[in-house]
């Protein structure tokens, strides 16, 4: 542990201390985060009702999830027959679904049910794909472990197919918060590219299995999708580029990088990109001026820190501190700016100490933890943003983000706090 001012520091990539008041979540949470948006499959939670109840809310949206609602009986006697019945019933009730993801949570994770065996049986009986995600909450040190489990499951679904005729890409690590998938799709269509699958903001079982037809994978959130992209390169020979659509500079760079790959860049396209960028800068000029030199503290998952950090810096913020709720050391290396403070896994007390030590002009954190800094009187921007606040990706997204920051910073309420 190091010390930064009064704030104790810990090395990255470690498990949380018990009682540390961590904001981290569990493997199941992570798996739901990634797989949540996939529409044409059943999501079946094998565990108690609570996991089902909570797991139906992903990034603030209520999703259709069913479960086995394990009781004492099943915990003692084993819940396998209940799982089997539940799967078969669910396929009868939603015959249009092409398959099922079965999330195994803590209870059955400890008792060690042979869930794979049941899945195979049900697959045979129903001729639907049944994929088991072994994601008991305790199985990983934080949610990113669940992200990996989800991507592992997705990877197993991909079949080797012929390359597409037209230039085709997959997008990896893009979760369609507030319509961001649509923004990115629009930029890529502008280049004349076909998007096969968006992992997982816009993915169906069928698209996933044919995602090996793409010529290029575009990796947005490296933290969640990097390993998956690597595997796709190894097994299907699909190269990937890391690209960010957060901020006008990053967006322009991403567009050029992808266009270059397909050899699509010409003067017209360049002009088009520039024009959009100028418009975005133009529309945000007043806001950028107001943000110039203001201090921001960012407390988020590491991948988000990178993208939001870019947006903030483009707005003119000085990022005085970042604290990652969860991250690998690789994630930290990916953050190309060097704020005075970098910390991992802040506890509630540490978050408060950061606020006191740095008195930031803006705090950016997740929607679950935002109320602490709000309560202590700090303008706070929470992510994921609600749908009406709009996508943060691409040029339009930069404008949306700027407006969001403006709303938070200029809210008159702050001036009354000490009034």
């Amino acid at each position: 542990m190091g010390l930064c001012g009064s704030v104790p520091m810990r090395a990255c990539g470690m498990a949380s201390e018990p009682g540390h008041m961590t904001q981290r979540s569990c493997a199941y949470f992570g798996a739901r985060y990634v797989l949540g948006p996939i529409k044409d499959v059943l999501h079946v939670v094998h565990g108690p009702a609570g996991c089902l109840y909570y797991g139906s809310m992903v990034r603030g949206r209520l999703q259709k999830v069913v479960g086995t609602d394990l009781g004492v009986g099943e915990i003692v006697m084993g819940g396998l027959s209940r799982l089997k019945d539940a799967l078969i019933e669910a396929f009868r009730m939603w015959p249009e679904k092409s398959g099922a993801f079965v999330y195994m949570t803590c209870g059955p994770g400890i008792t060690g049910d042979d869930v794979e065996g049941v899945a195979a049986q049900v697959e045979k009986e129903t001729r639907k794909k049944v994929v088991v995600i072994h994601c008991p909450g305790f199985s990983k040190i934080h949610q990113s472990g669940g992200h990996s489990l989800a991507y592992d499951a997705l990877f197993r679904l991909i079949k080797p197919v012929k390359k597409a005729q037209e230039p085709t890409v997959n997008i990896i690590g893009e979760y369609n918060v507030a319509g961001e998938t649509k923004s990115i799709r629009a930029l890529l269509s502008g280049l004349g590219l076909r998007v096969n699958t968006v992992f997982t903001g816009d993915a169906k079982l069928e698209d996933i299995s044919t995602s090996s037809s793409a010529h290029l994978n575009i990796l947005i959130c490296g933290s969640t999708g990097r390993k998956f992209a690597r595997l796709m390169r190894e097994k299907f020979g699909i190269p990937h580029v890391e690209a960010s659509f957060y901020g006008t500079t990053a967006t322009s760079r991403a567009v050029r990088k992808i266009a270059d790959f397909f050899d699509l860049m010409d003067r017209n396209m360049l002009l088009g990109v520039m024009e959009q960028k100028f418009r975005a800068l133009d529309e945000t000029e007043a806001i950028r001026k107001a943000c110039e030199g203001k201090k921001a503290l960012v407390v988020l998952g590491a991948a988000r820190i990178k993208s939001i950090g870019a947006l903030l810096r483009e707005l003119g913020f000085e990022i005085i501190g970042i604290a990652s709720i969860f991250a690998s050391n690789e994630d930290y290396r990916g953050i190309c700016f060097n704020p005075p403070l970098t910390m991992d896994d802040p506890g509630d007390d540490e978050f408060e100490k950061l606020l006191r030590a740095f008195t930031p002009d803006l705090v950016v954190t997740n929607s679950r933890e935002q109320w602490r800094s709000v309560k202590l009187g700090f303008p706070t921007l929470a992510l994921p943003q609600e749908e009406f606040r709009g996508s943060f990706a691409g040029y339009e997204g930069f404008i949306n983000f700027a407006k969001d920051v403006q709303r938070v910073l200029t809210a008159p309420v702050w001036r009354f706090v000490h009034g």
């Binding site: 498990a15 949380s16 201390e17 018990p18 009682g19 540390h20 008041m21 961590t22 904001q23 981290r24 979540s25 569990c26 949470f29 079946v44 565990g47 108690p48 009702a49 609570g50 996991c51 109840y53 209520l62 069913v66 479960g67 086995t68 609602d69 009781g71 004492v72 099943e74 915990i75 209940r82 799982l83 019945d85 539940a86 799967l87 019933e89 009868r92 009730m93 249009e96 803590c106 209870g107 994770g109 400890i110 008991p136 909450g137 305790f138 199985s139 506890g347 007390d349 606020l355 006191r356 929607s367 933890e369 109320w371 602490r372 309560k375 202590l376 009187g377 309420v413 706090v417 000490h418």
Partner: protein, 490 residues
């Protein structure tokens, strides 16, 4: 824009003018196989209207001054609850996790508890820590009592005896695979009193109250009523300030604790109390009964005082036990509610209403809607209850209505009933919003949880004044509902 407008568009709100494309969310509805509709006939659970026990114990703990729940389980068990509280209260809530990982699953959570407690005590100096178990620790078979005793020994060794005077401990066993958040609260109510309450032999005149899942607004209203009744009282598990407090700015001391909450001392003295009221039978009864059995404190278990009948029962019981007359000011408020009921009877009478939520909320609300002349049709008691159906049936008999009661089913079967036989109104929590939109029937939000509208946690639904507000919500929701010629509701 002006030229494209017809003077009074009949649709009320004109989507057209918003110029946003309409896209269907799902394809056409296909009815499920009929035999799979009842939840008892299915293995698959769809949209449960309850979550697991630990949440209830955490809720209760957060109502205690400078108390922290320590959740003996994986991190998700806290994160999900923090998220749930954040959405309902829009307040920070400190909840600690034992951070179970593979080693804990294999070797048990001893180390997690011991180190976790030490960390909490050193870094947060709480006055109380509740140890809340989860399915993992229960399945592993953690011996929490011995772990805790070891932890306390180590603390004493390291920091001296005083440290245990500052921080008290309560263990609440809340395996997630049984009961629900309601039972989790119920157990907490017993375990807190078991761990803390003492009797000195010297009875006080103080009345104690276990509020169940009442909101901050409800608890504040309860206090106001008790002050009007001029009785000495303490609210146990009082979240009214801890989960709804002012914007404070940077506090002098960190870690920050919200002000308020029940003092540990109040739990200790409860053993001398003259009576204890559990105002939510399913969430608090255990505590009240335990106190009665062990410390001879008279227990009064009664439905949430909502509407006329249940509030009358509460006020009467209060007046009897505390031997105080019912003041005119309370009668006045009752009369105002009656006046509001008489003034709006044309809107409420014979309206068919479906209800959904936790047993205590649903039971009292059913009686209230009957008092308004509404006809309860389908009632989902989200957690199987032994008391709520009785309360419902008693009201149903008195008011000559015959609702279908689903005791502990999931929302799917209740929603199926609503699709086949839509009511005029739905009373339920925020997770009823989908069925409300699907069948085009307006939703009045109440109970646990309400998170998609603001201010609900601050406004009371209990007592005569809460009834007034509840009634206004009901009537205004009916009036807001856009009928094709909605000028009828000017």
């Amino acid at each position: 824009m002006i030229n494209s407008l017809s003077e009074i568009p009949i649709e009320g709100i004109t989507y057209k003018n918003l110029k946003i494309e309409k896209k269907p969310i799902t394809q056409d509805y296909v009815p499920p196989p009929l035999e799979l509709v009842p939840s008892s006939k299915r293995a698959v659970c769809i949209d449960p209207s309850r979550t697991c026990m630990p949440l209830g114990a955490m809720w209760a703990t957060l109502g205690v001054h400078r108390a922290i729940p320590f959740v003996q389980g994986a991190q998700g068990c806290t994160t999900y609850v923090r998220y749930t509280f954040a959405r309902i209260f829009r307040e920070p809530a400190s909840i600690a996790s034992a951070s179970f990982h593979e080693d804990a699953a294999v070797f048990g959570g001893r180390q997690n508890l011991i180190r976790g407690i030490r960390n909490l005590v050193c870094r947060y100096r709480p006055e109380l820590i509740s140890i809340v178990t989860t399915c993992s620790s229960e399945v592993i078979g953690d011996d929490i009592h011995s772990f805790l005793s070891e932890a306390m020994d180590l603390l004493e060794e390291e920091f001296g005896r005083e440290v245990l005077d500052v921080t008290r401990f309560v263990i609440v066993n809340t395996p997630s695979f049984a009961g629900s958040h309601v039972e989790g609260y119920n157990r907490a109510s017993r375990e807190f009193l078991r761990a803390l309450a003492k009797s000195t032999g010297q009875k006080s005149r103080t009345l104690y109250f276990i509020p169940g899942f009442m909101s901050p607004g409800d608890i504040r209203e309860l206090k106001r009523i008790l002050e009007m009744m001029d009785v000495s009282f303490r609210i146990l598990f009082d979240i009214s300030d801890t989960l709804d407090c002012p914007l404070v700015g940077m506090p002098e001391r960190i870690p920050y604790y919200p002000p308020g909450g029940t003092r540990v001392e109040d739990f200790v003295r409860a053993g001398d109390g003259s009576a204890i009221f559990a105002l939510s039978p399913d969430a608090g009864r255990a505590g009240a009964l335990w106190l009665e059995k062990v410390h001879r404190v008279a227990a009064r278990i009664m439905p949430i005082p909502m509407g006329i009948g249940c509030t009358d029962e509460f006020i009467k019981s209060l007046s009897e036990i505390a031997e105080v007359p019912i003041p005119d000011s309370i009668k006045w408020e009752r009369g105002i509610l009656l006046d509001a009921m008489a003034d709006t009877l044309h809107y409420t009478m014979m309206k068919r209403v479906a209800l959904c939520g936790d047993p205590d909320f649903v039971a009292s609300a059913t009686r209230f809607v009957c008092e308004l002349g509404m006809i309860p049709t389908y009632i989902l008691i989200g957690t199987r209850s032994s008391t709520a159906p009785e309360t419902v049936w008693k009201a149903a008999e008195e008011y000559n209505v015959k609702p279908v009661v689903f005791n502990g089913g999931d929302q799917f079967e209740w929603e199926y009933a609503l699709k086949n036989d839509p009511p005029d109104l739905i009373l339920g929590h925020s997770r009823c919003v989908n069925i409300s939109r699907e069948i085009g029937v307006p939703l009045v939000r109440f109970g646990f949880p309400v998170y998609d509208r603001v201010g609900y946690q601050r406004q009371p639904f209990i007592g005569y004044r809460g009834g007034e507000r509840f009634l206004a919500l009901i009537v205004n929701t009916l009036l807001d509902h856009h009928y094709p010629d909605d000028r009828t509701h000017q």
